[in-house]
């Protein structure tokens, strides 16, 4: 490293980044803590000279809020369903991809395709696939114009059309659609990570196993999985973090009202709650919710790191 004669130069180069970080990163951290501790804080009212009491009122209010509990429940449910499902499917696809030669590159490209999409736009495509035009499902005189392509498909197996996302749809049907979409959206990144990991495993391990004629299942559980465990840990941690911040996939499918027509905000999430509170000028509430979200993400990440440390082999 060179001892620069002009030490101020380093600070000159860093100055644009530092100024912007102070305004848009450091100040928000301090201010969020401040707003969360000021009961009923409202940014516009403060500019008008209003004062707020110091206390944990915002947190109490958030936790007692029925809306917030719905958001928490939705977020947790989506996390718990999508993270294991997408990890297992991605692992399966990656292992299969790694075992073939012809078509490997083409298939790899196809599996990566969902990554370079706009999650709102493709959410709208999924909504179209599950959509029912006519909405009169379930009544005595079923008047379905188009049951939607997914309903047509399950109809091939003799399953009756399901009201997935339209007015009057069941909660579990909504969640099913969201899980399918989120998993579809999450696969590319995980496949990419897993395939990269598989390709970097030293071939000698497999040759040794071949000489000992080890069964394939045993090769997978004793060689592949342990050597892939750092990537799996990484994928699971990032998936949980992303899962707790789920928001735009729901907007893509259900629109900004976060729910089927007639039952709005039923599918709202933690991030949705924060933005709603922010938009309605309840920044104190929003800050408290954001801090709770941060604590949950932090705790889950720590648990993940602890579990993976015990089970990860480097």
């Amino acid at each position: 490293m060179v001892e620069s004669k002009h030490k101020w130069k380093a600070w000159l180069y860093l100055s644009p980044a530092i100024v912007l970080l102070l305004i848009f990163t450091v100040w928000p951290i301090i201010n969020t803590l401040r707003m969360a501790m000021l009961e009923g804080y409202n940014g516009t009212a403060e500019l008008g000279g209003a004062a707020f009491n110091f206390g944990i009122g915002n947190f109490v209010k958030v936790v007692q809020y029925a809306k917030f509990l719905t958001c928490l429940k939705n977020t947790l449910l989506l996390c718990v369903l999508t993270v294991p499902l997408s990890t297992v499917i991605a692992l399966l696809i990656a292992v299969c991809l790694n075992s073939i030669k012809p078509l490997q590159r083409l298939l790899q490209t196809i599996f990566f395709l969902p990554y370079v999409t706009n999650s709102i736009a493709i959410g709208m495509v999924f909504a179209t696939m599950f959509n029912i035009i006519g909405n009169n499902i379930g009544g005595e005189n079923q008047l379905i114009t188009t049951a939607g392509v997914i309903n047509n498909f399950i109809g091939l197996f003799g399953v009756d059309p399901i009201n997935w996302i339209n007015a009057g749809s069941a909660y579990w049907a909504n969640i099913t659609v969201l899980v399918i979409y989120i998993v579809w959206d999450a696969l590319p990144f995980k496949i990419l990570i897993f395939l990269g990991g598989l390709q970097s495993i030293n071939k000698q391990y497999y040759d040794a196993a071949k000489i000992d004629s080890t069964p394939k299942i045993r090769v997978f559980t004793r060689i592949t999985l342990p050597l892939l465990s750092p990537m799996v840990a990484y994928a699971v941690i990032t998936a949980f973090i992303g899962g707790f911040k789920e928001y735009s996939s729901i907007v893509g499918i259900f629109g900004e009202k976060m729910g089927p027509a007639g039952d709005q905000f039923r599918l709202n999430t933690m991030v949705g709650f924060i933005y709603d509170s922010l938009a309605s000028n309840q920044q104190g509430l929003a800050s408290a919710a954001a801090l709770i979200l941060f604590c949950i993400i932090f705790a889950v990440t720590m648990v993940n790191l602890y579990v993976s440390k015990k089970n990860t082999h480097y």
């Binding site: 001892e3 970080l21 928000p28 201010n31 990566f112 990554y115 709102i120 188009t146 924060i274 800050s287």
Partner: protein, 296 residues
């Protein structure tokens, strides 16, 4: 004796034939699984494309057609006009290009300072920067919303560009890349009397070009896909970005009914540039993504 040997040979042949059949069978299964999965992944794209060229009447048929009977390309023209896509497109392009260029300049300068210069508190500062990466973005958004409002930036492009110019992750990525460049090059340049900026421009930037391209692509994709922040600070139709204009433009406010084929045409228009970028710059995207774990 000879009889026994041939018996054993036959056994071996039988076993290896069995193994071959098993191997072929497992290969068939693997391909069947992968192809099914690939078709599932592709289907939404296919459905988007064929729906976008159907007439509304054909789209609403009780049994949907898997290939349009008649191609109605007019849907694309209608989509472009209904959602004012031209304007949204230009807005997004402007925000994307300006924020990418400024962000690259800031990132390169900071990464250079961290990788090549020596100053007090360098390591502490870098560690502090990395620590901020753990905090979810929503936590910053609340205050930034108020800050942008206080600065009088509501409904301006400034609000869409400035708060996100510094990415600690990109600084980290580029710093790692810069540090791989041998220090001797820097010393040699210093001996020759080259200035820092000239050295940066002539040596470091060309050597770190792949990382810079990855950052550029991810940043542009970020502008293309951003939704939440623009919705908060730029509701003016003249300032909207493409994703925000897309979601509601095709739903009739009164009836709540959506002209889906036209909507799908708009979705296809928005997706198309992303695919182009993907096809030509796949290598850089995958490289950047596998290290970042963030979408856009």
């Amino acid at each position: 004796m000879t009889n026994n040997v041939s018996m054993a040979e036959k056994d071996i042949q039988k076993v290896s034939a069995q193994q071959r059949v098993l191997k072929i069978l497992s290969q068939v299964l693997v391909y069947a699984f992968l192809l099914t999965a690939a078709l599932t992944v592709l289907f939404p794209f296919y459905w988007m494309l064929i729906s976008s060229v159907k007439s509304l009447a054909e789209y609403e048929l009780a049994v949907p057609t898997f290939f349009p009977r008649k191609f109605q390309f007019f849907n694309y023209v209608e989509a472009f006009n209904t959602a004012n896509l031209g304007r949204l497109f230009l807005n997004t392009l402007f925000v994307g290009v300006v924020s990418t260029v400024l962000s690259l300049i800031i990132t390169v300068l900071s990464a250079f300072a961290f990788a090549r210069l020596e100053f007090k508190g360098k390591n502490a500062l870098f560690a502090a920067l990395l620590a901020t990466m753990m905090i979810p973005g929503e936590l910053f958004t609340i205050t930034n919303y108020l800050t942008v409002d206080a600065f009088g930036w509501m409904n301006t492009f400034t609000a869409l560009i400035v708060p996100f110019l510094v990415s600690v992750f990109y600084i980290y990525l580029l710093k790692q890349n810069f540090m791989q460049i041998p220090n001797e090059l820097y010393l040699a340049a210093k001996v020759d009397g080259t200035t820092d900026l000239k050295y940066l421009w002539k040596v470091m930037i060309p050597l770190a070009l792949p990382t810079l391209i990855s950052i550029t692509i991810l940043k542009m994709m970020g502008a293309w896909n951003s939704y939440i922040w623009p919705r908060l600070v730029a509701n003016d139709p003249d300032m909207q970005l493409i994703t925000n204009g897309l979601r509601n433009a095709f739903t009739d406010v009164n009836s709540g009914k959506t002209n889906i084929p036209v909507q799908m045409a708009a979705v296809a228009i928005v997706s198309f540039p992303l695919f182009l970028v993907f096809i030509f710059l796949r290598k850089y995207i995958m490289k950047g993504v596998s290290r970042s774990g963030i979408k856009g």
